[in-house]
């Protein structure tokens, strides 16, 4: 009997260790897009790598899914079916659905999905970022800028938001949060909301942003992927400011990009990868992280920020962050699909 157990155990052990050393934890990172030029995905990959390095005995491989969204499910499916990964880490609001389909088809794969929300599947863990807080931070800062005496601020109390596309979180959370934040500075501020229609046409983004500036917006939050560069060009040419979303964009347009709200994908992917390696993740749960968890923030340390923004404005931003951290201001993220 003992012999039998040993044999079966050894066989299983050998089967598990055919490709890598025994007990090695294998993480596959699926990037829906390419890493180059996407700081968000860069952060996700770095976070996972950092966790793997720290924990040891962990292998990380990164698979890029490319820009064609229609091929992502196939990409993830083949990753999962290869049997080479214990867990697949990915990030994008559209990924929970794909993770669910793949997890249904392949019995032992597990998923950590950042920037998405799905609860109840025993092998999927999701981490959503509090985008209402993030948009509020951006809106509050835009409000401060447009009412300030900064050189490019104009008397009209009008700010802009350019979105790549409309989607429920954009319309119901980001736009609302942005407006909410701005009107906390001055209730008279109006938001000029425009949609580009895709995530890459910088030429058209430049035309739209030029029109927005012409109609009185002196600061534009741009959430348009590759289109962002067009907003920076328009703002530079027409003397306005641009705000970045998700990562520190100050170097994308020095003197033009004066504020960046942050999503710390690296923190989130590091924490969840570490928990997975240690076997401490609560599978089946969906968590929402915000300013208090150091997952959402506003970059107030960058030299370009300190150079462009008067100290009293910077102090107001710090104060707002502190209120959110302490829970004196609570901005709950509405859960998608609920």
């Amino acid at each position: 009997m003992l012999f039998l157990v040993c044999t079966v155990g050894a066989t299983l052990w050998a089967a598990g260790g055919t490709e890598t050393a025994a007990g090695t934890y294998r993480i596959g990172v699926f990037v829906p897009g390419v890493v180059d030029g996407s700081p968000t995905y860069e952060m996700m990959v770095n976070g996972v790598r950092a966790a793997a390095e720290e924990e040891g005995n962990t292998e990380v491989s990164v698979v890029e899914g490319g820009f064609n969204q229609a091929t992502w499910e196939e990409g993830v499916m083949s990753m999962a079916a290869s049997g080479r990964y214990d867990v697949i880490v990915t990030s994008n609001p559209s990924m929970p659905e794909i993770a669910l389909a793949v997890a249904e088809a392949i019995p032992d794969i597990r998923f950590i999905v950042l920037d998405g929300f799905l609860e109840g599947h025993p092998r999927i863990h999701t981490v959503l970022f509090n985008q209402r807080e993030q948009a509020y931070l951006s809106g509050f800062f835009a409000g401060l800028v447009t009412t300030s005496s900064m050189p490019k601020a104009r008397p009209e109390r009008r700010i802009g938001l350019l979105a790549g596309q409309e989607y429920p979180i954009m319309n119901e959370v980001i736009l609302t949060g942005f407006r909410e934040g701005a009107q906390a500075v001055d209730p008279g501020i109006t938001v000029d909301f425009r949609v580009l229609g895709n995530w890459f046409d910088a030429g058209k983004a430049q035309e739209i942003a030029t029109d927005m500036i012409g109609r009185g917006s002196d600061v534009i939050l741009t959430i348009a992927g590759g289109g962002n560069q067009g907003v920076v060009s328009a703002a530079r040419e027409r003397n306005a400011y641009a705000l970045w979303y998700d990562d520190a964009g100050y170097d994308e347009g020095p003197g033009v990009v004066v504020g960046s709200s942050l999503v710390r994908q690296d923190h989130a992917s590091y924490e969840s990868a570490r928990a997975a390696i240690r076997g401490r993740i609560e599978w089946g749960t969906a968590i929402i992280l915000g300013v208090a968890d150091d997952a959402v923030g506003f970059d107030t340390d960058h030299p370009e920020f300190l150079k462009a923004v008067p100290p009293e404005l910077a102090a107001e931003m710090e104060a707002l962050l502190e209120r959110l951290r302490r829970g004196e201001l609570v901005l709950e993220m509405p859960v998608p699909g609920r």
Partner: protein, 271 residues
Amino acid sequence: MVAQIFQSSALLLIVALGGLVAERSGVLNIGLEGMMTIGAFTAVAARVLGASPVLAVALAALAGVLPALLFAQFALRWEANPFITGLAINLLAAGAVPFMSEAFFGTRGSIRLPAGGGVPIWSVTFVALAAATLVWFGLEKTVPGLRLRVAGEQPEWLRANAVGVKRYRLLGLIVSGIFAATAGALLALRIGAYLPNVSAGRGWIALVIIYLGYRTPPGLAVAALFFGLMEAASVRAQVMVAVPPTVLLALPYTLTVIAFVTYSAVRRRRR
């Protein structure tokens, strides 16, 4: 609003004019999109390496000749299907440009020029005007232009007079390469960066404009302006009417189709 119409139509007009010359010579160049990408990348690369804006555009135009020659080699000399050849040019650009970008700049993502490294947004309009005049004059008022048109419509007339047809089709392809690459260069320099997918389908819209403009330079100018007007209107309408922006963004395409159908129906009835 007027400025915006010119901004969105100018680039389209330049590409469409190039495509028109190829089309009139008898080859439809559906590789315009890829040629734009090559021009955009070359211009930004040249600027990064120290070329002046004018030189960068000139180099980009030259770079546009390369895919045109390749197109001609396949479609004219080897008599390959021009549609497949055009598609291949697009695929080639989609693969080769990121490869070169990785090799020279270490990134497949965006390549940014420093502040003030590009060209002002209004400059494109003047290039478009110059291009329209040039193409109109070249096609309508010169002997090579006449022969090029004959090569497209009655090639046997040229053959009967012992004039090479393929030579004029080659000329048409080269002009389309130069124009598409120039438009790509101006687009990238106007933005001040090369970005993946920067041409964003303009090479395809340009093909539509060729036929919308009834294959004449003035017609193309009107068609491009109409499309630019629709684009500007859809952008402006986003703040003026309570219709979801995504619906408005589809308007330029829908209205262009409706306008085209109406116009050709009216025209036919008059005849």
